[in-house]
């Protein structure tokens, strides 16, 4: 029982990381039809700069971590918005070129980060409580899991509130459904593209800082590591659906944990099989719109 609980909560924590990356991917694809392979780069640069600033302010404390998280979100949002504004926008409606430029950016950024911060992981300090465990029903749960879950829940709530309560949220929801009709109502839908990139970048940036807490290090490959699973989550959840991304994040991560523990470390394989099954049986994903 305690093992099951540990696997579930660890899965939820990992799912929280997947969700922070997948939420932006899903919104961006839903609104603009862009598969953003550069999303991992937003996460990695946010993790590095968040860590650099945080450790100078106060290394290994809550205050330092909070600063890291805020800096990470801002860096993620700014880099993502700049990517949209300077690169993606020039290639409006040219989806192959858009995908290629994000792939190129992803590859080049890893090389750049390795050039600056080296190829080895850099181990990071974190507040003491996060290195400890809490005992629940006999299971000793690492405390960082609770932080990840709480942060992802807050981000999910904030994005939902934004989408439901603001005019830009309304435009984004309508644009995901029928972009040309939004334009035909006299709305410049491209302005919300930059905004969606910024929101997705901020979530990924927070994900980067939290990933460095979860794994205990920052590395140039942090983004690409999580991006693969975030893409799988996005496809399983249904491209364009935030709720779908949230549900799929949890399902994929929990499944992965259980397969790793009970089926001899086959978690990644099981996730890919789940992806194949969803594509065969329900290609639009759990909550996706009909393509």
């Amino acid at each position: 029982m305690s093992t099951v609980l540990l696997l579930v909560i660890t899965g939820l924590g990992l799912g929280a990381l997947y969700f922070l990356v997948a939420s932006g991917l899903s919104l961006i694809y839903g609104l603009m039809g862009v598969l953003n392979f550069a999303h991992g780069a937003f996460l990695t640069i946010a993790a590095f700069i968040g860590w650099e600033v945080g450790r100078r302010v106060s290394d290994g404390t809550w205050w330092g971590l909070l600063v890291s998280a805020l800096v990470g979100m801002i860096v993620g949002a700014v880099v993502a918005a700049a990517t949209e504004y300077f690169l993606i926008r020039r290639l409006y409606e040219r989806h192959i070129e858009q995908a290629l430029i994000t792939v190129g950016l992803a590859l080049a950024s890893v090389a750049l980060f390795e050039g600056i911060w080296g190829t080895d992981p850099i181990y990071t300090a974190k507040p003491e409580w996060l290195t400890q465990t809490t005992e629940i029903l006999g299971a000793r749960i690492p405390n960082d899991r609770f932080l990840l879950i709480a942060c992802a829940a807050v981000v999910l709530g904030a994005i939902v509130l934004f989408l439901q309560r603001t005019r830009y949220g309304l435009i984004i929801r309508a644009g995901v459904e029928n972009r040309s009709m939004v334009t035909a109502l006299g709305i410049d839908v491209r302005r919300s593209f930059t905004l969606v990139f910024a929101i997705g970048g901020a979530a990924a940036g927070l994900g980067g800082v939290l990933a460095s807490v979860y794994y205990g290090y920052v590395s140039a490959h942090l983004g690409s590591l999580l991006l693969i699973f975030a893409f799988i989550v996005t496809v399983i959840g249904g491209l364009g659906s935030l709720t779908g991304a949230a549900i799929a994040s949890v399902l994929v991560a929990v499944l992965q944990q259980f397969a790793n523990f009970y089926l001899g470390g086959t978690g990644d394989l099981v996730v890919v099989i789940a992806l194949a099954a969803v594509l065969l049986i329900r290609p639009r994903g759990l909550m996706g719109k009909v393509a």
């Binding site: 005019r167 309304l170 435009i171 929801r173 309508a174 459904e177 029928n178 009709m181 939004v182 334009t183 035909a184 109502l185 006299g186 709305i187 410049d188 839908v189």
Partner: protein
């Protein structure tokens, strides 16, 4: 192409619309996942939407503000699509086959709403239903195989049984 004297053919779509063009597309294209009220709010282009006008003209739509637009009937979706265009002051209204696929009773209701709208704004209407044309149109252009085969007043067309038969391939209707 000009609107009110200004060239508009090089402008992006949203700029043309902002100059006062309301568009009611052929397949209604309401946002099915949004509520009726959200569909209308999204369409408001300025700070002076004509909400009371819409409430008066479409009481049924107003009563269903909180309902998801995707769950409306075809006729109700058409009314919503019209309301979405009429919530702004327009200089021109483009309406594409508003009665397509609707039951005769609903066709009449759509006709009433369009007649009301036509009091305040010129409408460019694409329509195949002769009853609706008789009720609304002043001038008509008949297209056949992509070519213009008739231009003139609606009365001239509809009162000429021969023309109706020839151009539209349907027997003339009783007045």
């Amino acid at each position: 192409m000009r609107l009110g004297g200004d060239r508009i053919d090089r402008l992006p779509t949203h700029r043309i619309v902002q100059r006062g063009v309301g568009y009611v597309p052929e397949d209604r294209e309401v946002f099915g996942s949004l509520s009726v009220g959200e569909n209308l709010r999204l369409a408001e282009r300025d700070d002076t939407p004509r909400r009371e006008f819409i409430e008066r003209l479409f009481p049924d739509i107003h009563a269903r503000r909180a309902q998801r637009a995707g769950t409306l009937s075809g006729g109700q979706q058409q009314m919503l699509s019209l309301a979405r265009a009429l919530v702004n002051e327009n200089r021109l209204l483009l309406v594409d086959e508003p009665t397509k696929g609707l039951a005769p009773k609903i066709v009449d209701e759509v006709g009433v709403a369009l007649a009301e709208a036509a009091k305040t704004v010129p409408i460019l209407l694409v329509e195949q239903n002769l009853h609706v044309i008789r009720r609304l149109a002043e001038r008509v252009v008949v297209l056949s195989g992509g070519r213009v085969v008739f231009t003139g007043s609606a009365a001239d067309l509809l009162d000429d049984e021969d023309r109706v038969q020839r151009y539209l391939g349907v027997p003339p209707m009783s007045p």
